[in-house]
């Protein structure tokens, strides 16, 4: 568990908070209707999750069983409020769009979940990496969802990126489909559920394929060959 490779793999793929643990769905579904919203949400979550995991790990030997939860929630809430203030100061318009979902990061189960399940039992470095990788996994799903929904719903990609990256990003918008009215359902909540469902299905298909390959590789016996080898080296 403490090996860095497997921490990264857990966060990005095998225990991905959005696709496997299905945690933090509220911001995931609500704020993924365009790439800029998704990225803003992902960055805010990343800041909070990495920060809270680090601090929780730092104080893990000081907090007793009784005050563990209130202490963790306080740490997470403090990080969330700091993030909120920073977003207000530096990306005010994006903050207005994300609105209530920034303070609601406190209630994102991924964050308390990782504090409880990982950071409170591991040293600082793995804990920080775990927070970062979990948030990255969450953010990549958010980004993919945002991109798919933006293309289907508005026919564009990377619209309004200047809200996050300043004036230099004002012309990043790519008009892909040249449509006036997109597929409205894609930007509405049902679209979020549908696209997320397809993403989870896709992940399961890939997992199945990989599992089959792995089995095939570890089981070189050809089906149908019933002869037992009795001589020679079995390597």
């Amino acid at each position: 568990m403490s090996d860095f490779g497997s921490i990264s793999r857990d966060g990005l793929w095998s225990k991905n908070p959005a696709l496997v643990q299905l945690l933090g769905l509220c911001p995931l579904l609500a704020m993924s209707n365009s790439v800029v919203n998704s990225l803003g949400m992902a960055l805010a979550t990343m800041l909070v999750l990495t920060g809270s995991n680090t601090v929780v790990s730092l104080v893990r030997n000081r907090v007793t069983e009784v005050i563990r939860l209130p202490a963790f929630v306080m740490i997470i809430a403090a990080f969330t409020t700091c993030t909120e203030l920073l977003m207000q100061a530096y990306t005010f318009e994006l903050y207005q769009i994300l609105g209530i979902f920034i303070p609601l990061i406190v209630t994102n189960c991924t964050i308390l979940g990782r504090a409880e399940a990982f950071a409170s039992k591991n040293p600082v470095l793995p804990a920080a990496l775990d927070g970062f990788m979990m948030a990255l996994g969450f953010g990549l799903v958010l980004f993919t969802l945002g991109a798919i929904r933006e293309i289907l719903g508005y026919g564009t990609l990377f619209a309004d990126m200047d809200l996050l990256f300043g004036p230099m990003a004002a012309n990043w918008e790519i008009d892909l489909l040249h449509i006036d009215t997109g597929l409205l359902i894609a930007v509405l909540p049902p679209g979020a559920f549908l696209v997320t469902g397809f993403l989870i299905a896709l992940k399961n298909i890939i997992d199945d394929r990989m599992e089959k390959k792995r089995l095939a590789a570890s089981n070189p016996l050809v089906v149908g060959s019933k002869r037992v080898r009795t001589t020679g080296n079995v390597s």
Binding site: I67, P70, A78, L86, Q88, F92
Partner: protein, 224 residues
């Protein structure tokens, strides 16, 4: 007894309370310093957004050097009519001779599809609308959010309108027999906006003389 032992002899509940208290104090300190570090920038960002909206609603005025320094209070009995919070005020727009040439009224349409729609309405001294901007709303993306200038130019259709233009019966969406377009699939949002704009116009017409008098007093006070 050594200090460490004395701490360990404390009642566990007390010890926990102290620890939690220390956490709270540290968290409060961090929050406080972040707040004081960002407060100025946040205020600046808010001001920029507000100023931009203010300038946009009076864009049509011929005078380009406008002065947005003074604000006048909204009569208390009108707060309910315009659905405003106490403390919100009317922006006086002056030209470079510091004569009041327009006023910008905040107004809230309370009955949008997803709650209140906050607007800024610019009005000149003839009672004509110079411009309207929706500054805050939660309308459905792709449907009701076309009241937002970022999504559609619908809101610009109000410019130049006044209480008599169109006539009273025209102050409604086309679906209700009025002269304002509604959006495909979303009638509630434009209906709410049109009706609140009309209410605001009527209020403005009634109180215009008071506003002008107040604005003049303010400018006299300043020049003294």
């Amino acid at each position: 007894m050594k200090p460490a032992e004395r701490i360990n002899n404390l009642h566990p509940a007390l010890l926990n309370a102290i620890k939690l208290g220390i956490f709270a104090i540290v968290a409060a300190l961090i929050l406080g310093s972040t707040y004081s570090g960002t407060a100025e920038r946040i205020a600046e960002a808010q001001l920029i957004i507000e100023q931009r909206a203010l300038l946009e609603v009076v864009e049509r005025l011929t005078s380009k050097n406008i002065d947005l320094q003074d604000r006048i209070a909204i009569p208390e009995e009108a707060l309910e009519l315009l659905h405003l919070q106490p403390g919100q005020s009317i922006q006086v727009v002056r030209n470079n001779q510091s004569e009041a040439i327009a006023f910008i009224l905040p107004s809230v349409a309370p009955n949008g599809y997803s709650g209140a729609i906050r607007m800024l309405i610019g009005l000149d001294l003839d009672g004509q609308i110079t411009g309207i901007r929706v500054v805050d709303h939660r309308e459905t993306p792709g449907l009701g959010d076309k009241v937002d200038i970022k999504k559609s130019s619908w809101i610009e259709g109000f410019a130049g309108k006044s209480l008599g233009n169109p006539e009273e019966s025209g102050w409604a969406v086309k679906k209700d027999g009025g002269s304002f377009d509604a959006f495909t699939g979303a009638t509630i949002t434009p209906r709410a906006v049109v009706s609140q704009v009309r209410t605001t116009l009527a209020f403005y017409q009634q109180h215009l003389d008071e506003f002008i008098a107040q604005a003049t007093t303010l400018s006299v006070e300043e020049s003294e």
